[in-house]
Symmetry: C2
């Protein structure tokens, strides 16, 4: 019934996702792990692995002694905060068909805070790229990325519209391994307000992030500001321990 290469666990996940989407589970109750294992012809360990991953991504939850259950449809989270990698993808996950507008690419001197975050000397040159992500004509996300100029060795200006990790891959000799992000409240300044088409002073969520390569060296400092009315982050918090 089940063959290789997408791992067995992934196939079990896909199978369960389909049945969940099809509303097959009476009362939201998913069959027991033992039952699933015997029906699908895999070990209980594999089933447990699949269920753990579905639980982790918010599709289901488990209650010891009671069973495994589907999360209510209204609770399905479209993009898990920890897994965001490309804002274009986030917008697609929300049902948008995003476009990207590169607002500017220029070289500037790093101020003290940026230099410190990027591990370079103050006033060292950085490339600043400002981009706007839109749904139709509505601006949704405004990002500013700053990369030390020393890391860039190509003619890169034409690639600015690529997702950042592809850009870094292509034009630096390294690749982005992870981001450290802070969720910061801001009030839109005149510049941001004009670009996001909202009044100046509007409160907004900003992700302040530093992107690192595999050696934990900072590569990029990014700020992203969101139109709260068009893109709002949600999460489910479920009591685990105790």
């Amino acid at each position: 019934m089940i063959a290789r290469n997408p791992s067995l666990t992934e196939q079990v996940m896909a199978h369960l996702r389909e049945r969940i989407a099809g509303g097959e589970f009476e009362g939201g109750r998913i069959p027991s792990e033992a039952k699933l294992a015997s029906v699908l012809g895999v070990s209980r360990t594999t089933v447990r692995d699949a269920l753990s991953r579905l639980e982790h991504d918010g599709s289901i939850y488990r209650k010891q002694g009671a069973g495994t259950f589907v999360n209510e449809p209204g609770l399905q989270i479209r993009s898990r905060l920890e897994e965001i990698w490309s804002y274009e993808q986030v917008l697609r996950d929300h049902g948008y068909t995003p476009s990207v507008r590169v607002l500017g690419v220029l070289e500037e001197a790093a101020d003290a805070a940026i230099a410190s975050d990027l591990g370079i000397a103050p006033a060292d040159p950085v490339i600043a790229m400002e981009k706007l992500f839109l749904e139709d004509d509505d601006p949704v996300v405004l990002t500013m990325n700053r990369i030390p100029a020393a890391y860039l060795h190509d003619d890169f200006a034409e690639s600015a519209s690529e997702p950042l990790y592809e850009f870094v891959e292509a034009h630096c000799d390294r690749h982005l391994a992870y981001y450290l992000s802070e969720i910061v409240p801001v009030a839109l300044d005149d510049h941001q307000a004009a670009l996001l088409d909202e009044p100046a002073g509007t409160p907004a969520i900003c992700f302040e992030e530093i992107g690192f390569d595999q050696s934990n060296a900072p590569i990029v400092r990014a700020s992203s500001i969101f139109r709260d009315d068009l893109l709002r982050f949600r999460l489910i918090r479920r009591k685990t321990g105790a």
Copy 2:
């Protein structure tokens, strides 16, 4: 009341956390799973379980074929967004010794939005409880909880300082199973500003949440506002697939 018997997996986690905190791992490299299993005298499955949980909470990361590594100290996240359950606990995780001040408990008529969120009729009575969490004399979190009055059957006013889930457990015939939360940017109004000791209009992060019981019935509507300078949420985003 609670007899804790730490599982093997939890003991392995604790052991590794200690060695990580002690900086024992040369170059951040953690011994292989097989090595840990034989040294600790447990199966590799148990070691893998412990490592998976440490990876999930951001303490370590794994690279297939290469090894398992400690996350940089600066990347340690003190409280994972999805696991917040009590703001007192969040503050303790940040090294604070929090106190709680109950600002008011009163009955009011639900407005349309609140009634809709709680599944009751507009103007139905709700109990509104406003609380402030402080570190020393600094206000850090301001929360407003609203529970339909019909759900409360006891004399409850004196218990308002308890964590909300304990309060619900004790005074309603149900208990909180999960929250659905939205991260919302706000500007502090005069009331909030005075309580949080910041200028009115300061941008802040607000969690707008609805708490549900096991039957997916809404029990409580909560708003929590944070002092950005005292409590900032961070997260690590690491590329997983592809």
